[in-house]
Amino acid sequence: MSETIIAIRGLRNSFGDQVVHEGLDLEVRRGEILGVVGGSGTGKSVLMRSIIGLQVPDEGEIAVLGENMIGREEDEAKNIRRRWGILFQNGALFSTLTVAENVEVPIREYFPFIKPPLLDEIAGYKIAMSGLPADAGPKYPSELSGGMRKRAGLARALALDPELLFLDEPTAGLDPIGAAAFDELIENLKQRLELTVFLITHDLDTLHAICDRVAVLSDKKVVAVGTIDELLALDHPWIQEYFNGPRGRAAAGGVQEGHRGH
């Protein structure tokens, strides 16, 4: 449980004069779901983009799955890319491909020897697993609703059975029932596939329901990491406000009731 999957040390990111991260440290352990929270503009997405190599940081070290990620050649980075899946905020589906083809893209890229019939079947069950109806396969992203696009994005992120899953606000824009199902899905997948999940979210219900630990981004760094109970014990104004605000309390209460109901 304690093996470190992502290790970030001394990260600094800036856009022009605007410094987003300064001396940011964070560790993600194998098999956990780490929730990342923070106010708007605290650089949650930038942090994710730095880890997956879309944003080159000014300073700092990032190691993913034991491999240093900064300044790597594309060929070497490919071996790591194969072991992670990423769900972007708006799905980022390829708009000229059908949902099934979207799911097949990573598989084709890394395993070109898998024959089309098997490929189609794999795409089929990934789509069903992500909670999409079977008739979503041949549809184009523009024909899907926002929530369905998100699920299709998850299906693509799961295409290679990754060890590490990055989710950028997966439940934003979903109805509460859909969001709860999404949480359950991620929890299930995590347990069966030994997934490690890096989860950016604003959804307090998600945090309470599935996150093992929560990292709080504020003042350009990670100010605290821990379980929600541990965070609540801290005397940080933003954390208190966040978890003890009206919405935070409602989410906490909901989860406790949910546990009793089981």
Binding site: T96, A123, G124, G137, K139, D161
Partner: protein, 370 residues
């Protein structure tokens, strides 16, 4: 990740069934070979998973498939493995990869039908678009406050001022080419001096305006279509509508005005540059000094040639802006559509410009401006 990925062993089991033993990691990495090996074994089949220490959903799917299609028996699955098998079985809802397609004969017919309907719709849409533009112009005339001066000036800059360099260079070179070809061909009649007539009349009457129109279609017509198309996809145009801003007034009219007003100015500039290029060529090659050249140009190019060139220009500008804005507003769905519509805008604009140019040529000749 387990280093051990030994292949499955096989052999007859106690009940005569074929046993396929898998050990190591049963993951996507082994999907191809596992599928082949499973397919090679005759029924009845028993799959022994007791040696598997790691399985992913693709591995589970291969086993599930054997169970589903061939009634294979699974033994020795771990608790996690069993769960995974159940999970993929639960997710077994066959789906299509591509939208349904009918057979080729009826598809060809259907495509023809769709194409016809599409062409009809485009025509109606174009009429509607023209109507919306006229309404917008009317609205602006009635309340001139709604005229967006800033937007128009910005378009003037993009369509006109920033095109000066490339259009100047292009027509300058065309002037040189006309001069050079004219000089070579006319030399065989000993009539090199008529090269000046060729340069003057061709540039002013035809080529300057036509080449400018083609350049503006490529530079600005495509930009109009791509910009409006992208705004359509990102719902910016819908947002405008809901705020109460008419997209035609805010986006189309400024572009239209810019193209219509800039085209004659650019064409005139192109004429000058083309004559300049030709003049420099004949000076160097034929030794005709600039003074004589200008004198001759004034004698041989009738003023009606200038009118012919300049009257065509705003019409071409209108066609270019119409094709660009109309196609841009037709974009829906995905990013590929932006590309298709941008291409269509440029192709249609250039084609229509050349067709109209021919019509103008016949018209001006018949009214005596030959």
């Amino acid at each position: 990740m387990g280093a051990e990925t030994s292949h499955g062993g096989e052999g007859p089991g106690p009940s005569g069934a074929n046993i396929y033993r898998i050990s190591g990691a049963l993951t996507i990495t082994r999907a191809g070979s596992t599928e082949r090996e499973l397919a090679a074994l005759p029924d009845p089949l028993t799959v022994d998973l007791s040696g598997v220490h790691k399985m992913d959903t693709v591995g589970a799917w291969l086993i599930h498939r054997a169970v589903r299609d061939r009634g294979a028996t699974v033994v020795g699955a771990s608790a996690d493995g069993q769960q995974l098998l159940e999970q993929v079985a639960e997710a077994d809802h066959p789906t299509r990869t591509y939208p349904e397609q009918s057979n080729s004969a009826s598809r060809a017919l259907a495509e023809l039908g769709e194409w016809t309907v599409d062409a009809g719709r485009t025509l109606v849409g174009l009429l509607g678009f023209l109507g919306a533009m006229i309404v917008a112009i009317g609205a602006i005339i009635r309340s001139p406050r709604r005229f967006r001066l800033n937007a128009v000036v910005q378009r003037f800059d993009l369509v006109g001022v920033r095109a000066l360099g490339i259009i100047g260079l292009m027509t300058f070179l065309i002037g040189i080419v006309i001069g050079q070809q004219g000089a070579v061909q006319l030399a065989s009649f000993g009539a090199e001096v008529y090269t000046i007539n060729l340069i003057g009349r061709l540039s002013v009457r035809e080529l300057a305006t036509l080449m400018t129109a083609i350049m503006v279609a490529g530079r600005s017509g495509s930009a109009f279509a791509a910009q409006l198309g992208t705004m359509k996809i990102t719902e910016e145009i819908d947002a405008m509508r809901t705020i109460g801003v008419s997209p035609v007034e805010a986006l189309v009219i400024p572009r239209m005005l810019a193209a219509v007003i800039m085209m004659p100015l650019l064409s005139f500039y192109a004429m000058i540059m083309s004559i300049l290029g030709g003049g420099i060529y004949v000076w160097i090659d034929l030794g005709i000094p600039p003074g004589t050249f200008i004198q001759r140009i004034r004698e041989v190019v009738p003023i009606t040639d200038l009118w012919v060139g300049l009257i065509k220009a705003p019409v071409f500008g209108f066609i270019i802006a119409l094709a660009g804005c109309f196609q841009g507003m037709q974009v829906k769905g995905n990013s590929e559509e932006v590309g298709i519509r941008t291409t269509a805008a440029v192709v249609q604009a250039i084609f229509l410009v050349i067709v109209l140019d021919a019509v103008f040529a016949v018209f001006f000749s018949s009214v005596g401006w030959a």
